[in-house]
Amino acid sequence: MLSRTADHLYWMARYTERAENLARMLEVNYRMSLLPQGSEIVEQGWIATLTIIGLMDAFKQRYGAVTPANAIAFLVFDRDNPMSIYSCVRAARENARAVRGTLTSEIWESINATWLEMRVAGMRPSSEAEVGNFFEWVKYRSHLTRGVVQGTMLRDEAWHFTWLGTYLERSDSTARILDVKYHLLLPRGEKAGGAADYYQWGALLNSVSAFEIYRRVYRDLITPRRVAELLVLRADMPRSLHRCVSQVYTHLTAVRNSQSAETERRAGELHASLLFGRIEHIFELGLHEYLVQFMGRTRDLGERVSRDFLVSSAD
């Protein structure tokens, strides 16, 4: 297929996934802010979020004070913030539009309808209660699009590049969600127990749809170590790093070309480290350090995918 087409599909999937993950990340903050606790802790949560996604400076320049209302305005509907949910949905739609001939009409309709509804939602101010519903809606639309991709798309190269984008984005995002929460919760979490911790960790697990999974897998109290194990190493957890990287590796081998051997090797190496890794070793290194390293490696994979497949040279 055309390199440019593959590029649009890959970014269409990444932006769709990014919008969803942003909604998940914001939802966890939003839920935590509803718990009985000081406004300082709430503010800490937003500061950590803005820092981890690398937008703290841009935010400060435009909004100044870190308040839940400001942070939500910046990250949800701000069309001048290229990383807002609004902008991500628009970018997903623009990429889809550029290759709508490659998409099934159902996929296009799903993505286009999301954008049209988003434009309407972006035009009116939303109340606090509506914001919660809005995050649900973003997730729901993303589920729908993914389901339509799953249900209607030919299993050809276009399919593989779409999922390559999805899983690379998701691996990065799960790492960030874990990092931002761990950063905040660990000092208190190590003591274990306590109602506040329970809700904090519960909110984190909920944000990656893992609360019920945690219960099923561990049938026990929520502990930070197990949360990390679930989200990093469990191969059967759909949003874990292990699961994402193994999917990246699978789709990468399916589109293999004459210059992609090194990229494939690096993806395989990362996959092996997750397959055979132990949570104890990760904690010895420090979870934050581990996650930073991990995000560096997935960023490298993303750049290599672009170079190998998406912007090929003339000769």
């Binding site: 297929m1 055309l2 390199s3 440019r4 087409t5 593959a6 628009r90 739609r93 623009e94 539009r97 550029a98 290759v99 709508r100 001939g101 490659t102 009409s105 296009w108 309709e109 286009n112 309808a113 954008w115 049209l116 434009r119 190269e157 590049f161 589109v255 070309n257 004459s258 497949f309 998406l310 090929s312 003339a314 000769d315």
Partner: protein, 472 residues
């Protein structure tokens, strides 16, 4: 406006419903008004969701407009269509013969049937094409011929579009929409199908591949997602199952054309291009364009790739050449034209100019290179000041204009704010030329939504209707 009452597609002069509209008309009478209203709303939201829109330049990315769709179909009885189709095939055969002649021996000029300077000094004549052989001697592979009905309902050809005619996606989507909204109507009528147009088009494009290529790779070349007709480009590429490419996806090496793919370069044999000649190759035409492919003309002249439509077809669809098409039919085919031209005054001729200047308030004056309904004077609707201003423009460059009598275009009942009222319309059937000349029974019907307006272009507020050719 002319005093004559326009030909009404649905009603005869005595007010009775014409036979081919009877079934539809009684359906419309029977169907509750609120159901029809609800279906019209549904059509709008479906068009938006599916994204059948055209981009509007200068607005935020992601804003596109709908072309209004009207649910009253334009119905053509079988016999009328057979006559029309035969006339269109004849016309397009002659036009292709003309272009081939002009770029080779120029017999028609030698015979004095068309003034040579009219052709050779025309900006649309491409000297680069002189002596270049193209597969099957076909130049206008896809022709959109604009037809109107006037007077007592006779057909006139208004314009030949031989460069990059657009609108066929609306023909297909309007049909799909009507079937979705009113399936019962299709059960009650015997309507000739048009849905196979993309298959015909692909077959046609494959039939003109360079000599010796057995399994040609066909691509559709678009200027990109911000072009106003992008929806159509994407739609057709998808329907034909071919790649939708932009200039940046292609490159020429050793006079062969390649596209960049995730698995390396792949040869391309046929380009269905939807960009104008000027933008095709920065090395040969406009150097400042990013839309085309450097070196494409050299690959084309070497016979390594087919471009559809060919470069230089504009020489045959220019408004200054239009008056000579009946002559082409006689010259190349030895036949009398089956379809009439609109009588046309060519203002480079002294006697035509004098007549026109004396009758500006009755005539439509058009720029010979104008398109999209811009740059024209509709005499009966113009103010004295507008007429005077146009008079000066004509006097400065008479050779840039032609004039035609204002035809009383036929009208068809159409939903408007006040209810149902007659509105003027035209028809653009699409004629395909390859190893044979074919067309699907139907075309794009455009309708002027403003009362009394004769301008049907979508850029000027026109809408569309589904076009039904009855099978019996």
């Amino acid at each position: 406006m002319p005093a004559v009452k326009p030909y009404d597609e649905m009603h005869a002069e005595d007010g009775s419903v014409r036979e081919h509209y009877r079934t539809f008309s009684s359906w419309l009478d029977r169907t509750p008004k609120d159901r029809v209203a609800q279906k019209r709303t549904e059509a709008d939201s479906l068009f938006h969701r599916v994204g059948i829109t055209f981009a509007v330049y200068g607005e935020e990315a992601g804003t596109e407009r709908l072309i209004p769709f009207d649910i009253v179909p334009r119905i053509i009885p079988a016999q009328e269509w057979q006559h029309l189709a035969a006339g269109l095939r004849q016309r397009v055969r002659a036009l292709n013969a003309f272009i081939a002649d002009i770029y080779h021996d120029q017999n028609i000029l030698a015979a004095g049937r068309i003034p040579a300077e009219q052709v050779l000094c025309n900006g649309q004549y491409r000297p680069e094409m002189q002596g270049v052989d193209v597969p099957g001697s076909i130049y206008a592979h896809i022709a959109g011929i604009d037809v109107v009905r006037a007077g007592r309902g006779e057909f006139y050809v208004l314009e030949d579009n031989l460069r990059v005619p657009s609108g066929v996606s609306y023909m297909l989507e309007d049909r799909r929409m009507m079937m979705r909204l009113f399936p019962e109507l299709f059960a009650q009528h015997s309507i000739a199908p048009v849905e196979h147009y993309p298959d015909l088009l692909l077959e046609n494009l494959r039939s003109v591949a360079p000599h010796g290529v057995n399994d040609p790779t066909v691509v559709l070349l678009t200027p990109g997602a911000y072009n106003s007709a992008y929806f159509e480009h994407a739609f057709l590429a998808q329907q034909m199952g071919i790649e939708l490419v932009e200039g940046q996806d292609l490159y020429v090496e050793d006079e062969f054309l390649y596209m960049r793919t995730t698995r390396g370069p792949q040869r391309v044999d046929v380009i269905y291009r939807r960009i104008d000649d000027d933008f095709l190759d920065p090395l040969a035409f406009r150097p400042d364009t990013m839309l085309g492919v450097p070196g494409l003309l050299s690959a084309y002249r070497a016979g390594r790739v087919t471009i559809a439509n060919a470069i230089g077809t504009g020489v045959a669809d220019d408004k200054s050449i239009y008056p000579y098409v009946p002559e082409m039919i006689r010259f190349y085919l030895g036949e009398e034209p089956l379809l009439s031209n609109v009588p046309t005054y060519v203002l480079r001729r002294k006697e035509d100019l004098d007549y026109t200047l004396a009758h500006l308030n009755e005539l439509v004056v058009k720029e010979v290179h104008g398109a999209g309904g811009y740059g024209m004077l509709i005499g009966p609707a113009a103010t004295t000041a507008q007429i005077e201003e146009f008079r000066q423009r004509i006097l400065r460059n008479p050779e840039k204009y032609i004039a035609q009598p204002t035809l009383s275009l036929s009208a068809c009942p159409t939903f408007v704010d006040q209810g149902i009222a007659p509105r003027h319309l035209d028809l653009r059937p699409f004629v395909l030329s390859g190893s044979e000349v074919t067309l699907v029974p139907g075309g794009l019907t455009r309708v002027a939504l403003r009362e009394g307006s004769l301008v049907v272009n979508s850029s000027q507020g026109g809408g569309t209707k589904d076009t039904w050719v009855l099978e019996k």
